[in-house]
Amino acid sequence: MEILKSAAAGTLESSDAMVTVEPGDGGIELELSSSVMNQYGRQIKATVLETLDRLQVSNVRITVVDKGALDCTIKARVECAVYRSCDASSANIPWGGAVR
């Protein structure tokens, strides 16, 4: 999927994450901050990258501000931000899969 415009999903509430995506400069640029960075930073990074890979997004600047969200929440927020960025979030949302 191609990031057409900047879009965000999520909140800064405890146990949630705020994910913002913008069109990239030819690769994946991840900026991550987390309230559980020391213990889960690597896992959050892996989850974000896996989700982007599954959505076939390879050109994006993505910012994740995590407040202790579980993996399932992080996946959902990344998907939603990506769908919103390419206008795929109004109907027939393919949760858990990629939009071809």
Binding site: S14, S15, L30, L32, S35, V36, M37, N38, Q39, Y40, G41, R42, Q43, K45, K67, G68, A69, L70, D71
Partner: protein
Amino acid sequence: MRNAVGRDIPEALLVNGKEVYQGKNYMDGKYIQKASPRTRRYEKPQESKIVESLVEALKQCGARDGMTFSFHHHLRDGDYVVNMVMKAAIEELGLEDLTIAATSLGSAHDPIADYIEEGKVIGIQTSGIRGRMGEVVSAGKLKTPAIIRSHGGRPRAIEAGEVHIDIAFVAAPTSDCVGNCRGIGGKSNCGSMGYAMTDARYADHVVVVTDCLVDFPNMPASVEAIDVDAVVVVDSIGNPKKIASAAARISQNPRDLMMAENVAKVIASTPYFKDGFSFQTGVGGPSLAANLFLEKYMDERNIKMGWAIGGICGPMVELLKKGKVSKVIDVQDFDLDGVNSINQTPGHFEMSASQYANPANKGAFVNKLDFVVLAALEIDTGFNVNVLTGSDGVLRGAPGGHPDTAAGSKVCIIVTPLTRGRMATVCEKVVTVTTPGDCVDVLVTDYGIAVNPLRPDLIECLDKAGIPHVSIESLKDKAYSLVGTPDDLEWEDKVVAVLEARDGTILDVVRKIKPLTL
């Protein structure tokens, strides 16, 4: 050197007779030589000890570089006195290399972080450390490692001369002109002044700071004029709204209530639950709610509580007034119901920190305790508890009376949800051991109960009562299946805080955290 809870303690700390933690009751029967303060004689009758300002009081007490000042924390997050005194000492008198020995410190003391960064404050000894102070100490900016002690460990250390207090500052809701202090009758009331008592007896000098001067004699005094050098009257010693909450409310959260009910069930299944039993509970959600369910069992079996101790709040005062507990002995008050009841309600008494929890005296209350219900930030599969460091390794808590009551009581119950946000409360290895696992008996979570294998007697009690329980390992596995297995924290070598066990041995150290770079 590895200690009895498996923590590696740097050899450099094991000097002057310091040992690593060897297990519960290791120091039993040993003798100590008590320290004594060097105090000034006031033989000539004095009309009044009131001096004009803190600076005057500091000068009168011979304040100089390198001294240790002590404070007590009954004004909690409303306290103005620590900042006020340190400002006078550092900014007006230009003192340096000071050590703060406080019974606890909180976010009210954020300004002290600046003095640490400037190198004016070089030592911190406390139970609690939070907010900005916790951050700067964790970042290694304090010149010497902070020393963290429990509420019982502190009076032990003072009496043993391990902490020598040059000047003790007593934040007094009321005082008379010669320094008889009470925690009630003023405009910034805190009730019990139990933590100030040992400090006042063992300090070379004692300065009373009050915002409400009352007629002599202010009786019955918590800190007595016989120990006081000077009295300073200030506009305000604290923010009453933050000293004591209006009323500690019992949680309505169904998860808390379910855990509280299970705590009461566990208590009621043991042989110690009989007429005259003794009890302490924290003021956290599920711990406080345990009162409610316990009362039900007391009524059912027609038994009464003999006595309760600890930090006291409304629900316990309520039990006292209803005659369901005979005596409440109080080292600190958490809400106005507690504050307004001490020495007023018959059976509600004040006690010192030493009387409450000191492991080196001859009869602390914790040693007669049947049950204590406590919270935890983390508990590991060895039943070791952490109530000091956050999951990021930063200092943000307090052992308080946790290790003392756990060690002294017959049944110590930890109640905590299995996970908080993404943090697994039940884990493989706690960040810092603040209460050793050999003192912890039962864990109650929202996903099940676990009993320490060291207590087969309690396992039998639960089985007989038909209370289901599981291994603590299975609770840890459940937690990790929900939130993922956390990575181990990475540390630098530098020790930023030393955690003393209540008996004075070294239980754990906190090192400087290495930030994670991805």
